[in-house]
Every structure is written in structure tokens, then in C-alpha cells.
Symmetry: C4
């Protein structure tokens, strides 16, 4: 192999590496290759989700077969290319660099979503491919997304303890509501309120205001108690919302932080 060939190979590898590894991409945002992969991942997940539906699977089994084969080839090629180009990364240089890369979590996840299917794995473990969705998280490299994410997590973590307390209050209220209804309704509806765990199912549905309607009190006392707890449930929604709103107001108000974050993401 001549030096020219060698050089050409390195150039191709370098270019592919820069396109595949978001941290090596010189411009803001993601490379077109990574955006394409993100789109393919979304299509793959939608396909996996739809394939679990028996009615669709029966009628369009051949289409799903083609799609699955297509993604198997695509993901296999992607995996091989990634292993090949990772030698460009400073952490995976040297003779054992590629094996080192293959042992990282992202590489193992990629392998897991590819390997079983070459050994005849059926559609029942196709669900593994949903793990590819983690690839989407790389979109967080886009500066605007990263800034917004940082604001949300900053708001959540600055009021972490208040939010945990509101979750604790919610569970406490649910427990008290369940015990009350167990005592008031247990004899009238043993099937639905005959034990605290059963009453907790009602308590959950009521306090989160989901209200499936499969269980609800029928006695007068039970209805009065349920009504009062349902009203208290509004506070259960209001508390985390209010805490998060206040935290966001605080985070947005800190203009200095904002510019720091923008500078860092540049």
C-alpha cells in the first residue's frame, strides 16, 4: 500500500470520524450524518412499536421483514464504521484502542441491537432496538437544545428538595386517603376497597385526577370523604407545578448564568 493510498484512507477515516462523533464536529449543532442517523432511529422505533401490533404484523409481515433487514444492515455497517474510525479519537489510539472502544457502554448497546439478529433472533427481542433511542440524546449537542436542557435541569436541581417533599406529601396524602376509604367503604365494596392496597389504586386514580372510574365510593360517607380528598388532590398538582414555575422564573431571571451557559456551549 503506497503512502498516497495510506493518506487517502486516513483522510476518509478522519472525515467519517468527524461526522460520526458529535464532539469532533467543528461546527455548531450536529453533522448531517448524525441527523440522518437520528431520523433513522426514530423510524426504526416507530417500526418496532407498530410491529408489536398483531393486526399490522399479520397483514404487513413482509414489509416489516424488509424494514428489519434494512435496519440490521444499516446498524451493522454503522457499528463497523464506528469501530473503524474510533482510532481517530485520542482516547482510543494504539493497538487495543478499538477493543477499548468496543467495551464502552454506547458501543455495547449498539452491538446488542445488532448481534442477536445475525444469529437468528426472532422479533420477540426486536424491542431491544428501542435502546437505539438513546442515540437521539445526542441531539442535546445542539446549543439551543443544550441551553434549554440545562435551564430545566438547573431549575429541577435548585428546587430538588422541595419537589421531593411534594412527592412525599403526595404519597402521604394518598396513604391517608386510602386508609380512610378502606375504613369507610371496605365493607360495602370488599372487591374495590377491601384492603389498603386496593384502596390505594382508587387513591392514585383520584388524587392524580386520572379517574378511570373502575372504582369509586358508593356510600354517602365514602363519597363525602372522596370529594374532600379529590379537592386536596388539586393541591397535589398545584404544589410541584408552583415549585417548578418559581424555579424556572429564578433560572430565567439570572441573566449572568445565561450568558455563561451560552459561552460554554460555544
Amino acid at each position: 500500500m503506497s503512502i498516497a493510498q495510506q493518506q487517502k484512507k486516513t483522510t476518509v477515516r478522519r472525515m467519517l470520524y468527524m461526522n460520526l462523533d458529535p464532539s469532533a464536529w467543528p461546527k455548531a449543532g450536529l453533522s448531517w450524518l448524525n441527523i440522518l442517523i437520528a431520523v433513522l432511529v426514530v423510524i426504526c422505533v416507530v417500526s418496532v412499536v407498530l410491529e408489536t401490533e398483531p393486526l399490522l404484523e399479520q397483514n404487513y409481515s413482509r414489509i416489516f421483514l424488509v424494514i428489519n433487514q434494512f435496519f440490521l444492515y444499516i446498524f451493522t455497517i454503522e457499528y463497523i464504521v464506528r469501530v473503524w474510525v474510533m482510532a481517530e479519537h485520542h482516547a482510543f489510539k494504539g493497538p487495543f484502542g478499538r477493543i477499548k472502544y468496543m467495551c464502552t457502554l454506547p458501543a455495547l448497546i449498539d452491538l446488542v441491537t445488532v448481534l442477536p439478529f445475525w444469529f437468528g433472533a426472532g422479533s420477540e427481542i426486536l424491542l431491544l432496538r428501542i435502546l437505539r433511542l438513546l442515540r437521539i440524546l445526542k441531539l442535546a449537542r445542539i446549543p439551543a437544545v443544550s441551553l434549554a436542557l440545562r435551564r430545566i435541569f438547573c431549575a429541577l436541581s435548585s428546587r430538588k428538595m422541595e419537589l421531593l417533599l411534594s412527592v412525599f406529601f403526595a404519597f402521604l396524602l394518598m396513604l391517608i386517603a386510602a386508609i380512610t376509604l378502606y375504613l369507610l367503604e371496605g365493607s360495602a365494596q370488599p372487591e374495590a376497597f377491601g384492603s389498603i392496597p386496593r384502596a390505594l389504586w382508587w387513591g392514585m386514580a383520584t388524587l392524580t385526577t386520572v379517574g378511570y372510574g373502575d372504582v369509586f365510593p358508593v356510600t354517602s360517607l365514602g363519597k363525602v370523604a372522596a370529594g374532600l380528598y379529590a379537592f386536596a388532590g388539586i393541591g397535589l398538582v398545584a404544589m410541584p407545578t408552583g415549585i417548578f414555575a418559581a424555579a424556572m422564573t429564578e433560572v430565567i431571571g439570572k441573566k449572568s448564568d445565561l450568558s455563561d451557559v451560552i459561552e460554554q456551549s460555544k
Copy 2:
């Protein structure tokens, strides 16, 4: 035609034009003619909505016929008058000005809600008249409304990325919830949880706290998981609410912007 007649015609046209085109109206707000049209549009939409109801249509078919005829004449006259007076608008001056106007989107929408009925179109395409509702948007010309609208859109667009992220988190949570319940409940209730798309229907109803109650888990494990996801669903409501509340606080706090907007809307 004498000059006096010509002048009179111009004066009538000018007056009608100023009354019909909100941008030509010299005072704040809308002209009485435009308000009247807005009211007629609302009545027309209510009538169209009610006419789809078979019980009403059977008993009051003659009343609906009269109303439809009335609106056909009104809207036709309005269309013709609009075309006629648009020569006053600087953009539609000249010999082909009116044809140019007739090719604009608003004029085409007006035509579509009128023309088919002259050629015997039945009530089945009466729904087209709901497009007239777009006319209501002209109320946004009222300064107070325009200022409020601008505040809301300013708040939404300043936190666009955070809101999009919370929508993304919501869909992700829904997908994870659906996969969990598909795995836990799929065998117990194949009709409701036998595939991920089916479980998504449950996930949607639970996480948005709508809770129709047509599907819900029946196994113990499924109920525990559903309860935890329902609690997580509160965060799904809290996140966009908190982000929007913080954005509104920010927008309202900017007094300078406010006066700018007021000045612009004058």
C-alpha cells in the same frame, strides 16, 4: 355619468372600503361593519355546527334552509362589495387590481365559502363555511387584543425550546409507560395491552390525566406501575405550565417592551 355622480360613487366606495379593510380604518379598533361581520360569522359557524346534528336537522330543516340562504346572500354581497371597493387599496389599483385581489388567499377563501352553493352544492360541504372563522382573527387588530396576543406569543417563543423539550419528555415517558404496561399486562389483557400501540392509548389517557376508563391494568404489578406513571404524569402537566408561567413572568416584567408594543400598536 356626470362628475358629481362619479364623485359620489367614489365617496361611497371610499367609505365602504375604510369600513371593510381594518388597516384603512382611521380610529382604534374595528369599524362597526367589521364587528357586525364578525358577529354574523359566529352565528354562521354556530348554525353550521348545529346543522350537522341529525335530530335538529330533521325538525328544523326549514329554518336551517332560510339561515343558509340568508348567509349565502350576505356573503355573496360582501364578496362583491369587497372586490368592488378594493380598487381603493394602493396595492390593488389599476386595471387588473381587482383580479389581483381575487387571487389573494382571503379572497379565495371567501369565494370558496360562497361559490359552490350557487351551483347546487348540498349541506355536506357546508362545513367549508367554518373557514369564515378565520375572519374573526381580524379582531386581533384591536390594540388591547394585539398586545395580549403579542405577550403570549413572546412568552411562547422565548421558551420555545424548553416547551419542545417538555413535549419530547412527555412522548418519551408515554412510550416507556406503554412498553412497561405492554410487558406487564399484555398477556392478561391482550385486547387492551396486547401491543405497544394499544398500550399507548392507555398511556395517553393516563399521563394526560384524561382517564377515560375504557382500559386500565388489572394485574397487581400493572396497577403498581400504572400508579407510578400516573404520578409521573403530574410532572408532565407541571413542566409546560411552569415553563410558561416563568416565561409570562419574564415578559410582563419587561416594562420597556410593553411601552414599545403600545407605541407600535398606536
Copy 3:
């Protein structure tokens, strides 16, 4: 009648007047007499509400009879005393002052909740007594309540237009959702989605996240559309909440206003 007797009568009348008319009460808050009346009004409303229940009415009809007679006497005495003492009020002085007072709205409401029962009116118009609930509004005279009320109304009125717009958006979204489901589900479920008004019932239940579960789409397309609208419904809750939260933040932030209000309420 001697001067002493005359004077004594005036003193009693003056004292009763000061106790009955909140604006004449020299101290902060309400007089004990007015608080007693407020409590009686609440008991009366609870009794009226419970009496509509056939099961209670059958078993405890005599108790309700006694309670009703009791309130009839109490309210009649109150009415007569009020008319008598109102001569102390500067606006109702002079020979026709009392007749003038009897023609005011509060006096007429009081009369309407008393008079019919002296002429043998049955329990069917007992509901009239709920009008007495308006009397509770006088609690707003307590400075702390009045300040809180003022803050809420100040917040609501400062963002009136934004809140109205969010109501408008909500109705628009509901209309669009109903039309969509009418088109997608109308043929599959004519009973529930066979007309736009019927689909509006579903749209209301879904977008407000009430979710009775009496109607819901059954076709795949209908379910997908319903899911998307249910998610949009979260925005419908988030928008007014966010606007009101921002308005409250603004109102609370204005410390100067607060002290003004406190001063005014003194």
C-alpha cells in the same frame, strides 16, 4: 312617650344598626351579630341542600320542618329589625327612608326569602333561600380577606385580555378537535360522534381532562387524533395557569400597591 324613653329607643336602634350594617361598625372586621348571621346562613344553605335529597326528606321531614320554621322566624325578625334600624343610615333618613330601603336589592332579596313562606309556599321554592348566601359576601369586609380578594381580582383584571384569549383558544381548539373527530369517527360511532355538537361533548371531556369515559374514539385514526388533542389539552390548562401565576407574581411584587391597599382598607 317621655324623652328618656325616646332616647333609650334611639340608643337601642343605634346599637343594633351599628351591629347590623358592616359599614357602620367602628372596629375592624365584622360585628358578632353579623358573624352569627353568616353562620346561620351557612347552616340554612346546608339544610336547604340536604332537604332536596328524597331519602333524607322522607326520614327526617319533621326535623326539616322545624329548621325551616326556625329560619322563617329568624329571617323575618331580621328583616323587620333591619327595616326599623335603617332610619339611622344617612341615605334612608326622613319619612320615606324605610320604603326607600325596602326597595334596595339586598332588602328585596331578604323579603323574597321570607314572604312566600308566610303565604303557604311549599318546599319546592325553598331553593330561594340559597340567595341568602349572598349575605356571606359581607365577610369580604374583614381587612385580610379584602386585601387577598383585591390581589386576586387585580391579578385577574391586569391580565384580563390574555385570559380571555386563552379561553378563546380553548374554544377554538375544542371546535377543531370536535370537527376532526366528527369526520374521523362519525361513521363508526354515529351515536357519539355523528354530529359536531355530539363530538363537542367528547372534546370538552377530553380537553378539560375530565374524561368521563362515556364516549371515546374506537378507530385507529380517531385514537391517534384524540391522543394528540389530549396532549394539546395540557396546554389548555397550562396557559391560564401560567398567565395567572405571572399576574400574581407581578401583583405581589408591587409592594407599594400592597401598602396602599392596606391603608385604604383601614
Copy 4:
């Protein structure tokens, strides 16, 4: 007993006391012993909750028996140790100090959750052990938790009157909604809307957006009214959320308070 023994006993007692009484613990947070007790209390509560379930109780009655015996011994030992070490506390010094301690509320609650079971009390009063959950509240001694708790309670108490008013408005709206539906739907559905108390059950489910779906209007007028009240119900959720969000924003904004609280909790 020699002095050395005496001293050793005192040292053990002192050490146990410092570990058991959170206020005597010299470091920040809770002692490991108290954290262990908190964990045991949570396990005990979970066990009590699960034991009410007949299906579990039948199959695992022996496991529950063992767990109950285990907690009986643990809690008895804990009680005796607490009484013994409390002599270290300055308030319970002296000959009658321990009796004085045994008469305090926490000691009586501890006794009540232990004593009956030594006298053969069955599982039916096992629910008493849930009172032990109060022990968890001692976690509030951890500075970060105490600060967060203080912020939440500070926010709630600073806007106490506004929150109470929003609860009052909610009840008023519910009453008006119930009366409306009682009048509109009472004759069509006497079972569900035949009295105001019955209509209140519907009103509660609708305005809190729980929507069990056991009762809902069927007449056209009833549905229109229900729809409008359901929309008004959004305001019912928005009002306390907005008030609490504004209060939290205010509390967080007061940086001075924060440092005060941190200093106090040191």
C-alpha cells in the same frame, strides 16, 4: 456497683441518648440509629398496609406473623431504651423524670403501638402501627429538608388568605354547578341528579377533573351546562397553582431570608 461500672453505664446511656434524640445529635442530619429506625418504620408501614390484603394475608400469614413479632420486639426494646436514656435529657432529670417522659405525646404513641399486642391484640388493630409514621417526620431535622419545608410553609402561609379564598370559590362554584345540574337533569336522571347532594358528587368529579364517569348529564341542556362548568373547573385548578407559584417565586427571591434560615438551621 463500682464507680467504674457506674461511669460505664452512664457513658453507654449518654451515647444511646445522643443517638436516639435528634436534638442531642452533635452533627448535622440524623444519627445512623435514627435513620435505621426510620427505615424500619417504613418497612413496618408497608407490611401493615400489605397485611390488610386478604389474598396476601391468606398465603403468607406466617411471614406476616414473623414480621409482626419482629417489630413488636424491636419497638418494645426501643421504647424501653428510650425511657431509660431519657434521664439524660435536662427536662426529664430527677426521680420522676422518666414518668414525666412517659406522659409526653410521642412516648404515649410509642406505647400504644406496642402495649396492646402483648395482651393478645389481634391484627385488626395493627393499623395503629401506622402512627409510627409520625416518627418519619424527624427526618425534617436534616438541614436541607428543613430549609425546603420552611420555604414551602412560608409560601403557603404568606398567601394563606388567597388560597383559602380560592378554596371558597371552588366550593361556591361546585354548589352553583350542582344546583344547575339538579334543576336541568334532576327529572331525567333522578338517581344521579335527583337532589343537590347527589349533584354535588357529579360537581366534585367534574370540577376537580377527576371524571369517574359514573354520572354525567344526558340531556342537551345538561351537557352544555356541564361543559361550561368543566371549563370553569380549569380556573379552579389554575387559581391555587398560580397563587402558590407566585408565593414560591416571592419566597425564593428573598435571598436574605434564605441565609437567615440557613444560619438558624446550623
